[in-house]
């Protein structure tokens, strides 16, 4: 499965939502798509799933344009925070419907997940609570085994234990049946260990696209005496500053070589890694005037 996005632009009337987005995904791994509210994540994912068309630029999946392409559209599945308030079918009927149209759907796995999330299979979906409806969406997403599966904040409303079940099942299924998965989320601190690669969108543009390991190795929090810290970070990319009296803590983003780390420690500075959530918050921060 290969997804190639090239200079994709999307505008809703006069409002530009995606600007020259370019990236390529070509491994069967879990991609995390992060961005602030309104950054363009859902719009981008809708274009990938052929729910809408871009205003300019190109998208090819496995070398073909996916829009109205029956072979490709069957391989791509988008699951989002869907409100089932009018869905009078019961859980089994919904599963059967998806089984009918999605070529890789695994009914046994779906039934196992229904039991795992403790949903009543005979109950009408509109009678479920919001969290249980989200669980149903998660089940559909996991069981459909589409070669490109996209989860756009599908867990909204689910309680923490259910979310943990989702992450566990996701990792387990990915190991046994690897596919390309894109997870769009705001719960970065909770889900950061799931991502193999991270894409961060800021105001409709791609800010960052790296594998998780590289991203995390580039962030560092340096704490110590204010003057010493200031001298040390002279040429570095500063993304956050905190000061309490004489002690200053800064967050930098950039390569820190071993000799630089040694130098920092010799000067009495404290070096700590930065979590993905911290990096995300400060890299996407708006500068206040």
């Amino acid at each position: 499965m290969n997804v190639k996005v090239s200079e994709l632009c999307l505008s809703y009337g006069s409002q530009t939502v995606l600007k020259d987005v370019t990236f390529e995904l070509n491994r069967n791994q879990i991609y995390g798509l992060l961005g602030r509210n309104g950054a363009g994540k859902t719009s981008l994912l809708s274009i990938l799933a052929s729910f809408r068309e871009a205003t300019s630029g190109s998208l090819t999946i496995n070398g073909e344009v996916p829009f109205e392409n029956s072979a490709i559209m069957q391989q791509v599945a988008l699951f989002y925070n869907k409100d089932y308030k009018d869905e009078s079918d019961n859980v089994m009927a919904v599963l059967k419907d998806m089984h009918r149209y999605r070529p890789h759907f695994d009914m046994d796995y779906a039934e196992y997940l229904v039991g795992r999330f403790k949903l009543d299979p005979k109950k009408q979906v509109k009678q479920f609570s919001k969290g249980m409806q989200a669980a149903l969406n998660v089940i559909l997403g996991l069981a459909c085994r589409a070669p490109l599966t996209i989860f756009d904040e599908v867990y909204l409303g689910m309680d923490a234990p259910s979310r943990e079940i989702f992450y566990k099942e996701l990792l387990k299924d990915q190991e046994e049946h690897p596919r390309m998965i894109i997870l769009s989320t705001h719960l970065v601190s909770e889900m950061d260990y799931l991502f193999d690669e991270v894409i961060i969108l800021k105001k409709g543009e791609v800010l960052l696209h790296e594998d998780s390991h590289s991203v995390l190795s580039r962030g560092a929090a340096i704490t110590g005496n204010a003057a010493v810290v200031d001298e040390f970070i002279q040429s570095m990319n500063l993304i956050h500053v905190q000061q309490l009296g004489d002690t200053k803590s800064v967050m930098v983003y950039g390569e820190l070589h071993d000799d630089e780390r040694r130098a920092a420690r010799e000067k009495g500075l404290d070096l700590a890694p930065v979590s993905l959530q911290e990096l995300f918050i400060h890299l996407t921060e708006e500068t206040h005037l």
């Binding site: 052929s50 729910f51 109205e68 029956s70 559209m73 069957q74 791509v76 149209y101 999605r102």
Partner: protein, 175 residues
């Protein structure tokens, strides 16, 4: 263009869903017709037979389900069905519905005629919607509207096959 494997599934699904609505609709109309018959019987009047009674409501039914069927599109797109396949499939299903409803209606009509003529001396009003048109003098707008609403009607007594075909075509256009 080669139609992918989901096409027959869409046709079948749309057909069965709309057919189930149609059966409810026809059943309800049958009850109404029977009640009207009973009332006319006890009051010595006449009423339309089933075929005539279904004719115009069926047009309305097709308009309504045609509008409703638009709302099925996002469901199918999220299942990976292309919009082209969905529209083509729904069209075939609509043709199917327009064919099946007149046939069912004729069947019930025949049954109704047989039952009524075997057991009673009840006579149905011979409806001729075409004659109503002649009564209206030449107001262009009125005639235009009439020609859309009052569809060509062929009494099944005179020519059963033609009645079915005209009914079916008429319904399809409304959809």
């Amino acid at each position: 263009m080669k139609m992918p494997t989901q096409f027959p599934k869409v046709v079948k699904d749309m057909f069965f869903v709309q057919m189930s609505w149609a059966l409810w609709f026809l059943g309800f109309l049958l009850i109404v017709n029977v009640v009207k018959m009973a009332r006319a019987f006890f009051q010595d009047g006449t009423t339309d037979h089933y075929f005539a009674a279904v004719f115009i409501p069926a047009n309305l039914f097709m308009v309504v389900i045609g509008i409703i069927s638009v709302f099925f599109l996002p469901h199918y797109v999220s299942l990976g069905v292309t919009r082209k396949v969905y529209f083509k499939g729904t069209l075939i299903a609509a043709i199917g519905i327009s064919a099946v409803i007149p046939i069912l209606t004729i069947g019930i009509y025949v049954l109704q005629q047989w039952i009524v003529h075997s057991f009673t001396t009840f006579s149905f009003k011979v409806t001729d919607l075409n004659s109503i048109l002649l009564e209206i003098d030449s107001h262009v707008v009125a005639e235009l509207v009439q020609s859309i609403i009052l569809s060509p009607y062929v009494d099944p007594g005179s020519n059963g096959g033609l009645a079915v075909i005209v009914f079916g075509l008429n319904m399809l256009i409304y959809y």
